[in-house]
């Protein structure tokens, strides 16, 4: 083979292969760009000079230049106007028992239409739903669902509530609020499952629309929030206090993670704070950690750690302290705080017995706080 011929042949072969590679490269560029995003002006932000904005929805208060997105990844500054990209763009829609949220004092044995969009304003290393919460809306498959359609779907599936859950509802605030209003029109209640990392003004507005809020208090030390959540503790405590002062029903969940937030002194301090600030009637759930996401190699929580946490919280005066994610444990049940009569027997999500009479203990007539009807 002559050198020139060899070079020609090689060049020809290269060109042919390159031609094959071309469409693939175009394909590569397109990866993840199959966006189905909304473009609706967001609420709670401030316009600044030079087309910058400051988001005022959550304590992060992202200050963004043109075309930049907030930490949550679902709100974008476009030419000095802030837009939500996930209004009506639902990526998860399920029917779940309300006990799964968990709400133990809200309409037991009913289902909640549970929905979420992508995005979150924190990044917990143990997130159960990291595939939604840490995704950008372009990275998930969104289904179009208007607030009216969501409310209609709840009715169709026999759900007396809509739960805004899975990821962080704060980041799809506009959609949550409008859906809640639509649901109310149809007599459907609204419950929010949140990390409580939200500014007082939007939260206050939310409490006028929804019926119950469950806040994940992830630990009682600022260090934990800094290291494992990428958030801050104080705004969450402020949110809890605000919700408690409103008419909205409040429950608190504390996920006990071995060695990270299971210190009994911290748990006692938290319970003391709860008793002193929001009272002893707010249910507190100590739930068992299952290895997840970036902490999937940590062991699950030993049941005895949950029991110790529960005992510590009770000792501080809290009246409704539960153990979660341990099906069959007596810590799942509701007892009358006065006479210790068994009121609701649970087995996982299952309600095996409900002895409440008009929201009160059948034995001593003590009113049990909650949304029972």
């Amino acid at each position: 083979m002559k050198r020139r011929r060899f070079l020609m042949t090689a060049a020809g072969g290269g060109a042919a292969l390159g031609a094959g590679l071309g469409p693939a490269l175009v394909n590569l560029y397109a990866f993840g760009q199959e966006a189905n995003l909304s473009h609706l002006e967001a609420r709670y932000y401030k316009k600044l000079a030079d087309r910058e904005i400051e988001c005022q929805l959550c304590p992060r208060q992202c200050r963004l230049g043109d075309k930049e997105r907030g930490y949550c990844g679902v709100r974008e500054n476009d030419g000095g106007t802030y837009y939500t990209l996930v209004y009506g763009k639902v990526c998860a829609l399920n029917v779940d028992p309300i006990e799964k949220k968990p709400f133990f004092h809200v309409l037991p044995k009913t289902n909640a239409l549970s929905l979420a969009t992508a995005g979150c304003n924190v990044n917990c290393k143990f997130c159960q739903n990291w595939e939604i919460s840490q995704a950008r809306p372009e990275q998930v498959r969104n289904v179009d669902l208007s607030p009216a359609q969501a409310a209609e779907a709840a009715g169709r599936y026999g759900c007396p509530t809509i739960a805004y859950t899975y990821s962080e509802p704060t980041v799809y605030y506009e959609f949550m609020v409008d859906t809640a209003l639509e649901a109310r029109k149809r007599g459907i209640r609204n419950v929010v499952v949140s990390g409580g990392f939200i500014n007082p003004e939007p939260l206050e507005a939310l409490t006028r629309i929804v019926d119950a809020i469950k806040i994940d208090l992830k630990a009682f030390t600022p260090e934990f929030y800094k290291n494992y959540v990428q958030g801050k503790l104080q705004p969450v405590l402020d949110a809890i206090t605000l919700v408690r002062k409103s008419k909205v029903w409040l429950e608190i969940v504390y996920l006990v993670i071995p060695t990270l937030n299971d210190d009994l002194d911290d748990i006692r301090r938290m319970a003391r704070w709860m008793a002193g600030t929001i009272g002893t009637d707010v249910p507190l759930h100590f739930t068992r950690f299952s290895p997840m996401y970036l902490l999937k190699n940590l062991p699950p929580t030993p049941v005895s750690s949950l029991e110790k946490a529960r005992d510590a919280a009770r000792a501080e005066g809290l009246r409704f302290v539960y153990i979660g994610n341990v099906p069959g444990h007596e810590g799942e049940n509701t007892y009358c705080p006065k006479c210790r009569t068994l009121l609701i027997r649970r087995f996982g999500y299952q309600i095996q017995e409900n002895n409440l009479k008009g929201g009160a203990c059948p034995n001593c007539r003590t009113a049990i706080p909650g949304l029972w009807t």
Partner: protein, 726 residues
């Protein structure tokens, strides 16, 4: 342009070169233990292994290439050995302490970029000085690279065999490392009479016992605040048991295997297939028995349970810590524990089972992927009794699945569907896949009724949970996600499952490597294979344009390194798919290759007149072997065929290396160039092959592409010969 000259007709001197033998021995044993330590410290995905291998080869190559540079000019063999020996304990200790360096929790997922960083740093400390030492030894042997290459390969073969036969089965990893360290330091002191940095080497020798003494305290510190109660190195990896309150957690190579008591963990894996089958009497359980599955199976009136566990040391280590229920289950007269490879057991067993449950780790590596392939599913189906059910579970998501997870689960469903007439997949945090020749009905009410009638009490798998998991809304979305068209089949020859597992793992950190893997996953196989072909062509053209036989030989040696590494990886993947017990036999197979390389180098050195024709014939031989591999890749050759193939490849490759050096002797000051190019080629082969090409393009296509590239090599030599001198 000069043609490849006919070399010196005299046979080369192959007298024993102790430094070269020591170098081969130390390099191989360190490499083996480095990979084991990485597997135990980080998540042992295929990507991790290829990072370590690639970093190793890259720094070895650079060491050889940069030996002439100012900063290495005064470094003699003794100093280079001393540097490597001093670095070795530091490297292993730093790796063990990676948790503090990376500021992660015990057992926290580490980003692949961090793993790559550690791999590069470790290989810099260990193999950079050794790469440079190779060249120094060759310079001291009157630039007789063949002699060094021969004895280095022989040392490597010995290192592999000794590790396989003695170190791994008998010694904890760091004890073996201490033995290697002290012995190598002693040998180094004895060998290098002139200019030896004796103090450094003595210090290095003393570090051996230090390493051994630090092993356990460091392991305990790494796990703190958990209480590490057992740690044991087995041929399959590191087994560690931690205790927190009443609960123990068992780690296999740093990954959580199970906790005990944890009554909820095994219910999914067991009850779905058992309930779907109806009345199971004979059950085969592959893995998972220590994590509670046995106890769940024994809730049914079964006649016999065959429980297969590959690692006997795992059973020994865990048994004393099991709760009463799990220990009773393990000792139940109906349970027959067999310590062997699950796939091999199925192949040998003449029995038929009502239910086969596979509970092995997810297919993060080619080693585990072999339990999720179409070939394995076919094998399992052939061992099912009429109405029998085959089942396995894998991580999913309860509420939402990312595109990568959908793709991964879709692959498993398509693969199962291609074998079984009926397939049912239970959604949830664990997706439970079941396949059968008879219809399968996944209905919440039906399954709850069966639980009820048999009086089986479960903790998590209750009627309410079944209803929730099988709610039409969730089930429809789950089915839609899994039944997307175009999902490929996971097979032994194209193990795409582990690629998507690696992608899923990377997505958790959502770093650059996840984006890169996502992009690569979108490239169709043809352009994927064409890309390195294009690079190779470009290298050939560049070499042709430079018109020097040295550049021609560099390309040839880079190709040699790449193809040798590729063949090594492809053969190991195929071997373990067919015969399993990879860890036990990998060292043997690699030693076979090393022995071949040594033999080839010997032949190449002893031959009287190396010629252009011989060179071309050797290239043709390599092409022939690749062609043979292409033809045989879908067959099932006897085990010995793998050893012979690697031996034959080693013989040819060793010969090619030496012949290239004889035909185109390196100019003074460039003695190590050929070796460096060989390692760079190997680096390229290692970095992309196991992680990307094997799973995405498949073994047959990758082999065919290699054969096509091999076919170009003789043509290239031909070109050189016909081109007039420049």
């Amino acid at each position: 342009m000069p043609e490849l000259s006919n070399g010196d007709p005299r046979p080369l001197d192959l007298r024993f070169s102790p430094p070269a033998g020591l170098l081969g021995f130390v390099a191989t044993t360190w490499q083996i233990y480095l990979i084991r330590e990485f597997a135990a410290q980080f998540h042992g995905s295929e990507l991790t292994f290829s990072f370590v291998l690639a970093a190793w080869l890259l720094w070895g190559g650079l060491g050889g290439l940069w030996v002439g540079r100012r900063f290495l000019r005064r470094a003699g063999t003794a100093r280079l050995f001393a540097a490597a020996l001093l670095a070795a304990p530091a490297v292993f200790i730093a790796l063990r302490c990676s948790r503090w360096i990376l500021k992660t929790l015990p057992g926290e997922v580490t980003a692949s970029s961090a793993v790559l960083g550690f791999a590069l740093a470790a290989a810099l400390g260990l193999n950079f000085p050794l790469g440079a030492a190779f060249v120094r030894i060759a310079e001291a042997s009157a630039r007789n690279v063949a002699r060094v290459y021969f004895w280095e390969s022989a040392g490597a073969a010995a290192g592999g065999l000794i590790s396989y036969l003695i170190f791994i089965p008998l010694l904890p990893d760091w004890t073996a490392l201490a033995v290697i360290q002290t012995a190598a330091a002693g040998a180094s002191l004895a060998l290098f009479k002139k200019g030896r940095p004796a103090i450094a080497v003595l210090a290095a020798a003393a570090l051996g016992p230090v390493l051994m003494a630090l092993d356990l305290p460091l392991q305990h510190s790494v796990w703190r605040p958990f209480d590490l109660v057992v740690t044991r190195d087995s041929p399959y990896g590191r087994i560690q048991i931690t205790r927190a309150a009443e609960q123990i957690t068992v780690y296999d190579n740093g990954t959580r295997a199970f906790s005990s008591p944890d009554p909820t963990a095994a219910e999914d894996a067991v009850h779905i297939p058992m309930l779907l089958q109806g009345r199971p009497e004979r059950v085969l359980l592959i893995g998972g028995g220590l994590g509670g599955a046995l106890g769940e199976i024994l809730k049914y009136p079964v006649r016999r349970v065959d429980y297969i566990e590959i690692d006997g040391r795992m059973v020994e280590a865990v048994r004393p810590f099991l709760g009463d229920a799990d220990r009773t289950a393990l000792d139940d007269a109906r349970v027959h524990l067999v310590l062997t490879d699950g796939r091999a057991y199925l192949e040998r067993s003449p029995d038929r089972f009502d239910v086969i449950i596979v509970s092995v780790p997810e297919p993060t590596t080619a080693q585990f992927n072999r339990y999720y392939t179409v070939e394995f599913f076919r094998l399992a189906k052939s061992r099912l009794a009429p109405r029998g059910v085959f089942s396995f579970k894998t991580g999913a998501a309860d509420n939402f699945m990312s595109p990568a997870r959908r793709a991964y689960l879709g692959i498993l469903r398509t693969t199962l569907r291609s074998v079984f007439e009926a397939v049912a997949v239970m959604p949830g945090e664990n997706a439970v896949f079941s396949g059968s020749g008879s219809p399968l009905r996944l209905d919440a009410e039906d399954l709850s009724a069966r639980l009820e009638t048999r009086g089986i009490r479960t903790m998590t798998l209750t009627a309410e949970v079944l209803r929730n998991r099988l709610h039409p809304l969730r089930l429809d979305e789950f089915r839609r996600a899994l039944e997307e068209p175009g999902s490929p089949i996971n097979s032994d020859g194209k193990p795409i499952g582990y690629f998507f597992q690696t992608l899923l793992w990377s997505e958790q950190k959502n770093g650059a490597e996840a984006r890169l893997l996502r992009l690569v996953s979108r490239i169709p196989p043809l352009p994927l294979l064409a890309f390195p072909g294009l690079l190779f062509l470009a290298a050939l053209l560049r070499a042709a344009a430079r018109r020097t036989s040295e550049s021609a030989s560099s390309v040839a040696l880079a190709w040699l390194g790449l193809s040798t590494m590729a063949v090594e990886i492809l053969v190991l993947v195929r071997y373990q798919a067919l015969y399993g017990s990879f860890y036990g036999h990998a060292a043997r197979l690699l030693s076979m290759m090393m022995a071949g390389l040594a033999g080839g180098a010997w032949i190449g050195a002893r031959i009287r007149r190396p010629s252009q024709r011989r060179w071309t014939a050797l290239q043709a031989g390599i092409f022939g072997l690749l062609l043979l591999a292409c033809l045989g890749v879908s067959k099932r050759p006897p085990e010995i065929a793998f050893d012979l193939f690697l031996l034959a490849w080693g013989l040819l490759a060793g010969d090619v290396f030496v012949t290239a050096g004889r035909l185109v002797p390196p100019p003074p000051g460039r003695t190590g160039r050929g070796y460096a190019w060989d390692l760079f080629g190997s680096f390229a082969g290692a970095v992309v092959l196991s992680a990307v090409y094997v799973p995405l393009a498949g073994l047959p296509a990758t082999l065919a592409a290699l054969a096509a590239m091999a076919a170009l090599m003789p043509a290239f030599s031909h070109l050189e010969r016909k081109t007039p001198r420049g």
